[in-house]
């Protein structure tokens, strides 16, 4: 009897824990959900990468057929961009922004939960295409008119369309939320030019998302209409110009590159000063460069289209704007080097990844300048040279920084340190394996290997490097397993983290690890950049007063108002999933499709209705 009561209690506790996560509106929990979900998707994308490398290891390989290979490379790209790098950045936005600006939560906590659930459902919808044997297979940028019904009659493209549309909703909601949060929720005295650089980059990224995603949405809506309702946006036989798709896609697609790489710029700009014990070199230059990159990123899209035949004038203009965007990017790299110079550098795992980022991203940036020269791009575009380029930007760049960020903020998230020794081993294996995998792709580009081919003949001179790259890819897989092992081990038995394990400079280090639900017992007043550094090492009376506030009394804690949990966000998100499913069923010609779609709308409406009238205290 007693035994069963205990079991019941445990079961109840477990249920309630899951229920707590489902209904949470706490930005920290949502950040953790984002992190583990996108690490899971990252794992799937990585397995797909290994399938690609296995197929290409030897010439004339029959490991994957062309149909499967095309699905695998399309899903690899789509997953890594939309379900891994973007949401990993989002994990940091969620977890860090309120902490860095001294707020108790984001501006719209329930909208934040909604973003996560929509992202999760969109990702699952996209991945479910594998179960139905209809994974997207037209490349991550799905050029029309290959995607029209004539050339892609299956559900593959439909899964891609509705997966991306749903993910777009999540991105827009989240971007709006962080934009408003950063503008409105800063602690007293946290002026714009006192904000941590990561917060700045999040602000710029949010603006980019708000302006870029709609262009993709429009393209996808037009494609949906072509496929479902017989419109002719991308039908050349009816006189359409299929280049329209490319413009719509890349006006989204190029800012998207910076959406993926600006937050890592921010992460680096936090890690380097902390581990060098120096303020960021040239803070205003770094911030203005980030803003300049944001603006310019909307004026360079046609550099993805130099070989399309736009004509010499557009090509020259876009070559020039592309050269321009390299300037602020270069400025940032020099400022990071300036931060390291003359510092007192602690060689810890986050610092190693941050340095790896500078080194590898520079290579990707340099090859980017090569593509900016239009005639050179006539050779390099759509060859393995460009595959090398964007992996140096997105893996050597974004992911290196994200890994560094995970090592840096893990103690704040979970109250335990990630193992530094394992971390260093992982760093070196990652760095070496990454270069083994991707550097030789430059050589293959010189040897004229086009991207997206599922097989090649052995007389092309491509055998050696393809085989070597496959070895590198598996080694890279090993390094990621070490990372996963480190996370799991440290979650269980990692060294307990103090509030400020790295002698940090920004406000998130001023509060306990893990962070209490209310974040700041007393909202801090900010007097300078690197606010927490100033509190620790400054000697004015104000900073003395701040120090006293860091440890609140229990009575003070109890008075803090926090937003209540809510299940309406997941209900509304579920409605959107229903709408997407209904649209897919229509693509499959199922009679009940419109009922499912309608049910989705109903659930969404009910969710939003309940959400609107939910008591807010």
């Amino acid at each position: 009897m007693a035994q069963s009561t205990v079991t019941e209690q445990r079961a109840h506790y477990r249920r309630s824990t899951i229920w707590e996560w489902i209904t949470t509106v706490d930005h920290k929990r949502i950040g953790i959900l984002y992190m583990f979900t996108s690490l899971g998707f990252f794992l799937i994308g990585g397995v797909l990468a290994l399938l690609i490398r296995t197929q290409l290891a030897v010439p004339d390989n029959t490991f994957l057929g062309p149909g499967t290979y095309n699905e695998v490379f399309t899903m690899h790209g789509t997953i890594m961009i939309f379900l891994a790098v973007m949401p990993l950045n989002s994990a940091f936005f969620n977890f860090l922004i309120p902490l860095q600006i001294g707020a108790r939560d984001v501006a719209f906590p329930r909208l934040n939960a909604f973003s996560y659930w929509v992202f999760l459902f969109g990702g699952l919808l996209l991945l479910s295409s594998f179960i139905f044997g209809a994974a997207p297979n037209t490349g991550w940028f799905g050029y029309a008119n290959l995607t029209t019904l004539t050339y892609s009659p299956g559900l593959n493209v439909d899964f891609w369309i509705f997966g991306l549309q749903i993910l777009g909703i999540a991105s827009i909601a989240s971007a709006l939320n962080f934009f408003v949060t950063i503008i409105n929720m800063r602690a007293p005295g946290m002026r714009m030019m006192r904000m941590p650089v990561f917060t700045w980059m999040t602000l710029v990224t949010s603006v980019l998302l708000l302006l870029a995603i709609p262009s993709l949405t429009i393209g996808l809506v037009e494609l949906t209409f072509d496929r479902y309702f017989g419109t002719l946006f991308f039908e050349p036989t009816a006189g359409a110009s299929v280049i329209l798709w490319q413009h719509l896609f890349w006006i989204f697609g190029h800012p998207e590159v910076y959406i993926m790489v600006l937050p890592p710029f921010g992460i680096i700009s936090e890690i380097l000063p902390t581990f060098s014990r120096k303020p960021l070199f040239g803070y205003p230059f770094v911030v203005y460069s980030g803003i300049a990159i944001g603006f310019l990123s909307f004026g360079v899209w046609a550099h993805h289209m130099f070989a399309v035949g736009l004509g010499p004038v557009p090509n020259s203009v876009f070559a020039t704007t592309t050269m321009l965007i390299a300037i602020p990017t270069g400025v940032k790299i020099f400022n990071w080097l300036g931060t390291l110079w003359g510092g007192s550098i602690a060689i810890k795992t986050p610092l190693l990844f941050a340095s790896g980022f500078i080194g590898m991203f520079t290579i990707g940036g340099i090859s980017g300048v090569m593509h900016a020269s239009v005639p050179v791009d006539y050779w390099q575009t759509d060859s393995y040279f460009v595959v090398a380029h964007f992996h140096y930007v997105l893996f050597g760049g974004s992911l290196m920084a994200i890994l560094g960020g995970v090592y840096y903020w893990f103690p704040k998230m979970f109250g335990r340190m990630l193992d530094d020794r394992i971390g260093k081993i992982q760093f070196w294996i990652t760095l070496i394996a990454f270069n083994m995998t991707f550097f030789p792709m430059h050589f293959l580009g010189i040897d004229g290997m086009p991207r997206r081919i599922y097989t090649y003949q052995s007389n092309m001179g491509w055998d050696f490097w393809n085989f070597e790259e496959t070895i590198g890819a598996y080694l890279l897989g090993v390094s990621m397993l070490i990372f996963a092992f480190n996370i799991l081990k440290s979650l269980r038995s990692g060294e307990r983290a103090p509030a400020d394990p790295w002698d940090g400079r920004t406000l998130e280090w001023s509060i306990p690890s893990p962070v209490p639900a209310y974040n700041f017992a007393v909202v801090p007043t900010v007097h300078s950049r690197d606010a927490f550094w100033e509190m620790k090492y400054g000697s004015t009376e104000e900073t003395e007063a701040q120090k006293a506030n860091l440890n609140p009394t229990p009575e003070a804690e109890r008075k803090i108002h926090l937003p209540p949990r809510s299940y309406f966000p997941i209900v509304a998100a579920f409605g959107i999933l229903g709408m997407g499913t209904g649209m897919l069923m229509h693509g499959d010609g199922m009679a009940i499709s419109w009922y499912v779609f309608g049910a989705g709308i109903l659930v969404l409406t009910l969710g939003l209705f309940g959400w609107s009238f939910e008591p807010n205290h």
Partner: protein, 347 residues
């Protein structure tokens, strides 16, 4: 602490050695393939390569400076017991303006010749010979306007003469690329793109579709045969002729001809000047087969042209090239052998 920094030194040295091996390895391992761009054989690719080389060396300098400063800083300024507290430098405006202006100047230096070449590439020389290229899922068609020659998989051009390639697609987007002769140009439905180059060497040069165009994008290759003017003229003259009569001595080919004209092949393929029992082969969906026997490869270069391979192909095209638009006509192996003999005879 000392142990940690030893470990670090070893790791850094290891990484440098690995990088060196990769780079030195690269020097001897790349280049020399049939699609390697580093030995251009056409004017267009030569211009591109000549533009690339200075950009490459500027890149090497930037690369060396950034990596050098990075490694130097991380090693030199790493924290040791008793390291002094660093000076909290917030920036240096002069330095920052300098490193904004220097990259801007380097980029300007790259931009000027870039734009010059872009406009040069857009101007077609007046004496150019035109070849009309049509991209199909997943093979290339080559028409020689005014010559009544339509060919597939193999493009013939004379050496030393400017060639204007006009590009057309009736299905999806492809990209026309002969790496050793010229840069890419996309082949876009409803859009007339073109490209021009002068082949500088006699020989054969492999080309390949470079824009993902569906299931068999990987097997959409072709060969450019660069010939002396005399050889080119002779080739043109021969290919203008209608198809050769099947020699009566070739029993197998005779039978194959009957199969070809009754099994449905004529719905998609043309063999000009040939009529069997009142049936003509005038299809324009698949490659023109009038002189197929004189080519070196079939089906987007998926197989070299031999009688055996032809038989394999017509017997079961889906097995050779999964997803190909050529249907499986259900020919017996015997019929396939006959058709192969017939096609092989069409020199």
């Amino acid at each position: 602490m000392a142990r940690g920094s030893d470990w670090l030194k070893r790791a850094v040295t290891g990484a440098c050695v690995a990088l060196l091996v990769v780079i030195l390895g690269g020097c001897s391992f790349f280049g020399g393939g049939p699609q390697s761009v580093n030995h251009p054989a056409g004017s267009n690719m030569r211009d591109i390569w000549n533009l690339f080389i200075p950009i490459f060396w500027m890149s090497v300098v930037v690369f060396a400076i950034v990596q050098g400063v990075l490694l130097y800083s991380v090693i030199k300024f790493r924290r040791k017991p008793g390291s002094p507290e660093p000076h909290p430098t917030h920036g240096n405006t002069k330095l920052e303006i300098t490193w904004t202006i220097i990259p801007a100047l380097i980029l300007a230096v790259i931009t000027v010749p870039t734009i010059a070449k872009v406009s040069e590439f857009a101007k077609v020389p007046k004496n150019a010979i035109t070849v009309q290229v049509v991209g199909h899922q997943w093979w290339w068609e080559f028409d020689y306007p005014g010559e009544q020659v339509v060919d597939a998989d193999e493009m013939h051009v004379p050496v030393g003469v400017p060639i204007e390639v006009k590009l057309r697609s009736d299905d999806v987007i492809h990209s026309f690329w002969i790496p050793r002769l010229a840069g890419k140009q996309d082949v876009v439905p409803n859009q007339n793109n073109h490209l021009h180059f002068t082949a500088e060497e006699i020989g054969t040069f492999r080309g390949q579709c470079a824009e993902f165009c569906g299931e068999q994008h990987a097997n959409m290759a072709f060969t450019v045969v660069v010939q002396s003017q005399a050889d080119y003229d002779a080739w043109l003259a021969h290919n203008k002729l209608p198809a050769a009569e099947v020699p009566s001595s070739n029993q197998l080919a005779q039978q194959g001809q009957q199969v070809f004209f009754t099994a449905g092949c004529v719905g998609c393929h043309t063999i000009s000047g040939m009529e069997v029992n009142g049936v003509k082969a005038l299809g324009d969906v698949g490659p023109n087969l009038t002189h197929v026997g004189s080519r070196t490869a079939i089906a987007g270069e998926v197989l070299p042209l031999t009688q055996e391979n032809l038989a394999k192909w017509v017997h079961n095209p889906q097995a050779v090239k999964p997803g190909t638009l050529m249907p499986n006509l259900g020919l017996t192996q015997e019929q396939a052998n006959q058709v192969a003999a017939f096609l092989e005879s069409l020199k």
